[in-house]
């Protein structure tokens, strides 16, 4: 078997996430196949092992490694017109593959949890049919794990993908979303928060508007303390002929300490004529004037800081439509903010 070459900081896409520095190539080459369990399942879905033939969409550098080394993985199919909610947990780290198919007019809520330690490298294929919808939640607790999750998401006409990512950081934590808006009117809405001290969290996206009247929004909020590093790299391409498309990208960060780092890199490539695209990125400190205002009203410093941080990331979390899931993320965020403030 050939030695695995891990992506490192001299590779453009991995500049801010040095996988070679975080994990040993030898350890990666002998990592086992990841194990999964289904924590909860509601509604109508077929859950099975991976079929013999699995499509392979656009992915980043680590997905081929997962594909060649993982020997098994789960497959979920929601049949046309059905709806389901499934909560997955990756119980044993390692290489993994997954296939999620949401057929025409079907809907699925997928909640993902990850193991507290070890190396994992998962490549997932997601297929969203005509007028189908997938709501995808990834809640990544703060821990010492090295985790790479790479998704290829293909969305047919009128289909919708909504992603809510909450990452509290790992030794290295990378989520890649490669979204193809293939059919007319397809939509992708991606919301991410990163809150961490002394840890790393990276969200790298590529949203490709292949057809007309497609829409995408991306909103990322990151708070970094200590030696933490938060990364958002978001590329949007609008293909020739994808007229009437609309794309918005916002990424903002707050650095609580000088040693922390936040790298925001929104990119836009437009080949169509008639499109609306907007992107913006900014990194700053907690606003001193706001902090003084709150303290002058009797709110102690740490509580005032937590309140301002909560307000900063709130608009990214409040996009979660399900009240119970939103509350679950807020609880982890509040616990983390209390420590950081």
């Amino acid at each position: 078997m050939n030695a695995i070459v891990l992506p490192h900081r001299k590779v453009e896409d991995w500049k801010y996430s040095d996988l070679r520095g975080a994990v040993d190539a030898e350890a990666v080459s002998i990592a086992p196949t990841a194990a999964w369990s289904i924590v909860a399942a509601k509604g109508d879905a077929d859950i099975d092992d991976l079929p013999a033939e699995v499509p392979f969409g656009e992915h980043g550098a680590m997905a081929p490694v997962a594909t060649s080394l993982a020997t098994a993985g789960p497959s979920v199919r929601v049949r046309a017109g059905e709806s389901a909610e499934i909560e997955f947990e990756l119980t044993e780290p390692g290489h993994g593959r997954a296939l999620i198919v949401v057929e025409d007019r079907a809907s699925l809520t997928l909640i993902e949890k990850v193991p507290p330690s070890g190396f994992s490298n998962i490549a997932s294929e997601i297929v969203i049919g005509k007028n189908a919808s997938l709501t995808h939640l990834r809640i990544l607790p703060g821990n010492e794990a090295v985790r790479v999750s790479d998704y290829a998401i293909a969305i047919a006409e009128g289909g919708t993908y909504r992603a809510h990512l909450a990452d509290f950081g790992g030794t290295l934590s990378r989520t890649e979303l490669h979204v193809a808006l293939e059919g007319e009117g397809a939509e992708a809405h991606i919301f991410g928060v990163g809150v961490m001290s002394d840890r790393h969290a990276d969200v790298t996206t590529h949203v490709s508007h292949a057809s007309g009247k497609t829409r995408s929004t991306q909103l990322f909020k990151c708070i970094a303390a200590g030696h933490a590093r938060g990364v958002y790299q978001g590329k949007v391409t609008v293909a020739k002929g994808a007229d009437g498309s609309d794309s918005r990208q916002t990424a903002k960060g707050i650095l609580l300490e000088d040693r922390a780092e936040i790298d925001l890199k929104p990119e836009l490539e437009i080949f169509a004529d008639d499109v609306k695209c907007a992107h913006g990125a900014a990194v700053g400190d907690l606003d001193a004037e706001s902090l003084f205002y709150l303290r002058s009203r009797g709110i102690p410093e740490s509580e005032a800081r937590a309140l301002l941080m909560r307000a900063f990331i709130g608009d990214a979390i409040d996009q979660i439509k399900d009240g119970k899931l939103r509350q679950a993320i807020w609880e982890v965020v509040d616990r983390t903010l209390e420590r950081l403030a």
Partner: protein
């Protein structure tokens, strides 16, 4: 209640207050008037404890305690309230959440029982009605998109809610039309009490027609240069600051 002696203070290393002395007793309303750049806002920020406003000499004693040793939030819990000239907009924090958090933080610091959401809402609603603050405003993010008058009314609403011992009003009249000014003044007058002292900082006499002070002080170049009763404000309005500052020099 408040005794400021020979106060020197710097902002970003530049001396702004240069030997200011002022005494305010319980139940009294004092006006501090002065031209632009005389140090009025610096005085208010120094009293509230804003970072970057450093006391380099003299003393501030509040209810027998060294005020400068306390953090801004400790001062608030002990009853010091500053109605700001430019209230800060804080997106993402609703006005009601802010009021509840602040009220209960002050109560907690004083060892008092916290008030639940329903109780706070009831208190806020009562005060809001008298100040003509619509309920819808309380659900919006703090000060975000509020007009100048709405922001000032919300400052007075906070003052009524927190029931401070020493209230400092920094240019509360700026940016208000006459109706809003009357409303704010009524709100302030309703809070006058024998236990409460107020320091009203203003550039113009206008506000003092509605909030009649017991004493008027003229601040110029970082010091109090003239003092008198409420008639001093009228004299300033008629003659301008220049003459009085010159006479005092």
């Amino acid at each position: 209640m408040l005794e400021i002696k020979n106060l020197h203070a710097t902002v970003d290393g530049k001396e702004i207050l240069k030997g200011l002395t002022l005494r305010v007793g319980a139940g009294e309303v004092h006006a501090i008037m002065g031209p632009n750049g005389s140090g009025k806002s610096t005085l208010s920020y120094v009293l509230a404890g804003r970072a970057g406003y450093d006391v380099t000499g003299g003393s501030i004693t509040y209810k027998g305690e060294d005020l400068t040793a306390l953090s801004p939030d400790q001062r608030a819990a002990k009853g010091v309230f500053l109605a700001m000239q430019y209230p800060v907009e804080i997106p993402g924090v609703t006005t009601l959440t802010f009021l509840k958090t602040a009220l209960n933080a002050q109560r907690r610091a004083r060892g008092e029982k916290e008030i639940d959401a329903v109780g706070v809402l009831r208190m806020v609603r009562e005060t809001a009605k008298t100040l003509n603050v619509p309920e819808e405003m309380l659900k919006r993010a703090l000060n975000v998109g509020f007009s100048g008058g709405e922001k000032k009314r919300l400052e007075i609403l906070q003052m009524a809610l927190f029931q401070p011992v020493l209230a400092i009003l920094d240019e509360t009249d700026s940016g208000l039309d006459i109706d809003a000014l009357k409303l704010v003044a009524e709100g302030v007058n309703a809070l006058r009490s024998p236990e409460r002292a107020m320091v009203v900082i203003t550039h113009y006499q206008r506000l003092l027609t509605y909030i009649v002070p017991d004493r008027v002080h003229v601040l110029a170049k970082g010091r109090i240069v003239a003092e008198g009763g409420k008639e001093l404000a009228l004299k300033l309005e008629a003659q301008g600051y220049e003459q009085i500052v010159k006479d005092a020099a």
